[in-house]
Symmetry: C2
């Protein structure tokens, strides 16, 4: 008789966005003329740059001609034309040298972050910051693993650090953080790298929001930290960098020098991916290549600056209203303290000023009493939403 | 200290295609003027139909305009426009009714076949035919599971059937089979469904090659068999149906009525996919939609007929030469008996007639002494290769 993976039974259903959608549709039904401003979901809204569209169109046309048609990629982990562009990006942004063999192209950071856990024994303790992107927790709960939460709060600025008593084998870090927008400094990441090396632990570093970092002193890759190649894997994606949330392309860096338990994680990930994944579509890889051209990067920078200008409008408003907040400057997320239950705050904003955000409690226990706003709406709507905030909280 | 998944150590490296590539490049280096005909790798060669290219181009252009830009899909398991087309395809081809909630769109059947195992406990016995697509075996070995091989041979036509003594919990079936091209009849699949229901087992049915079935009496979906919705999951893909090996789109059917160990596999797969996958690119889903239009299906049919005509040239030759073989008529693969070691046969074909195929021993113990030829080359090359065969074996 077939037996299922019993760990799935212990997973909580995450109704966060479903609950938000329900509350919103109920409100709209009762108030059909309300001018709702959505600052909830972390999805981009600006179209892809022309250089990327041109690459998509050209590659699509190639697929219709026998001489230029592409079947299975010669290297399932990514075409050389894209991997060399990603290596250049690391070199230029972070002064980090990567070989082609250290870069694995995929359909997105979510898949890779969640699947990378396959490489480890279930007999590990997993260190996860709270609040955080729920995928880290759920993908480990699916394997029945022991999880050690480390608390983010207004005292540590939602940047929990290793303490003397902390112990664990695999550490998730997300910087700039989703949902809080907080960014670790180099000194802070150095402490984490030192901790990992001392404990023979591995850091799984989620850099999905690195392109939002404006402060040149902040690290955009964990490999800017000495010794990180000996203890860290890095996940990144074009979703937020280049508006690829619906186009799907990510990349994972697994250094060749990275050993765990006497094994090469690079070779193990290669084995996992060649067995359980068949590569990213050729046309999508051509689009990703276009992102990393000078023209593509410039266009993406313009879009990110647009979102970041929205974030500044938001943080300026919060500062003026003396509402405790973090994020914003180096992140599309602004994380604010509610002074009440997160869901009550959600209801108040929806009912009183028709602004929709995301209750922080949906991202973990330590998110309770906090609230996430995103900078992905239009500038006009962002200004209007902040005006309404100012009137409500003045 | 971090501990890795020790099961990876027990995985054999599969050097099959690497070995073939090495032998081929050595031969070409020594014989630079040889006119090699490749009938080895199972990859398509004909370009995508115009209706699919048009869909790709149009969807790509939509991504460049604010009003039509798409971010995260509203349903990570596939856009409604594609799922309804897949449901129609099942209705028209197999008279099988599927609800939208039973269809999960992905980046390909390989990912889904390999990831679906996540839903089961490691305490299951896995029944796998030999020879077969190596992903079934490897994805279960990665979890340390007990595997029960069932033997294909020239007596059962490489279609192993359940026996009285057979016991197991999860059964992989691939029909039309990779690598043998053999296809189960409805009566045979009925025996497997009956076995699964008797044993409270689950069938994981790989239908990746269903579009090659020409014989109207052969089942193209396991759901053509009564009660299959109570015991089977089906994996399919556009890779071979529509030449999507480099475009990446597949779909998995998990019936809502399918229970395992008291749990809904449909709900479990939904939980797995929403946690560990972020959907297939919008433009790829639009291309897949175009495949399932009347024009798209007609164009794909023409391409498949082209490959199938090649297969007929091959099987006619083998019959004339009295070489035992299976596959071909309902499959792009022709599986022939070597009368010698598979690798010796490979060397002989390469050296004597400059034809490259795939040694059957690469697909499992029972593949030893057999050889796979594929029908994906041009008709001219297929005719030429068979002429060379005829001269060699006459």
């Amino acid at each position: 008789m077939v037996k299922v993976n019993g760990n799935y039974k212990s997973l909580k259903q995450n109704y966060l966005f479903a609950n938000i959608a329900k509350k919103l549709s109920d409100y709209v039904e009762a108030n059909p003329t309300a001018k709702i401003i959505k600052m909830g979901i972390g999805d981009v809204t600006q179209p892809l740059p022309k250089v990327v569209i041109d690459a998509l169109v050209n590659a699509s046309k190639e697929m219709g001609v026998k001489e230029t048609f592409r079947g299975y990629a010669p290297d399932e982990q990514g075409y050389a034309f894209l991997k060399s562009k990603i290596a250049d990006y690391y070199k230029n942004n972070s002064n980090v040298e990567l070989s082609d063999r250290e870069i694995f192209v995929s359909d997105g950071a979510k898949s890779d972050v969640a699947n990378f856990t396959d490489l480890f024994s279930n007999d590990n303790t997993i260190i996860i910051p709270d609040p955080v992107y729920p995928v880290y927790m759920d993908s480990n709960l699916m394997l029945g693993r022991k999880i050690q939460l480390i608390n983010g709060n207004d005292i540590n600025g939602f940047l929990p650090m290793p303490t003397e008593n902390l112990d664990g084998d695999i550490i998730y870090l997300c910087s700039p953080n989703n949902p809080t927008g907080a960014v670790y400094t180099k000194e802070q990441l150095q402490q984490w790298v030192d901790f990992a090396i001392d404990h023979n632990a591995i850091i799984l570093f989620d850099a999905a929001y690195e392109a939002f970092i404006a402060d040149p002193d902040l690290p955009r890759s964990i490999y800017e930290i000495p010794n990180a190649k000996k203890c860290a894997v890095e996940f990144c994606s074009l979703s937020k960098t280049a508006g690829f949330t619906g186009t799907r392309c990510g990349y994972t860096i697994v250094p060749e020098s990275l050993m765990a338990d006497g094994e090469s994680l690079n070779k193990m990930w290669m084995r996992r991916q060649t067995t359980k994944f068949n590569g990213t579509a050729y046309i999508i890889q051509r689009a990703a290549e276009a992102v990393f051209t000078d023209e593509g990067l410039k266009a993406c920078r313009t879009i990110i600056d647009y979102y970041r200008a929205n974030a500044k409008i938001m943080t300026d408003t919060m500062s003026k209203l003396r509402i405790w907040h973090t994020g914003g400057f180096n992140s599309p997320y602004v994380w604010i303290k509610c002074g009440m239950d997160s869901w009550e705050y959600f209801d108040a904003l929806l009912n009183d000023i028709n602004v929709v955000g995301t209750p922080g409690s949906g991202f973990g226990r330590c998110g309770a009493g906090y609230f996430r706003l995103t900078a992905f709406n239009t500038t006009e709507n962002t200004i209007e939403a902040m005006d309404r905030f100012s009137k409500l909280f003045k």
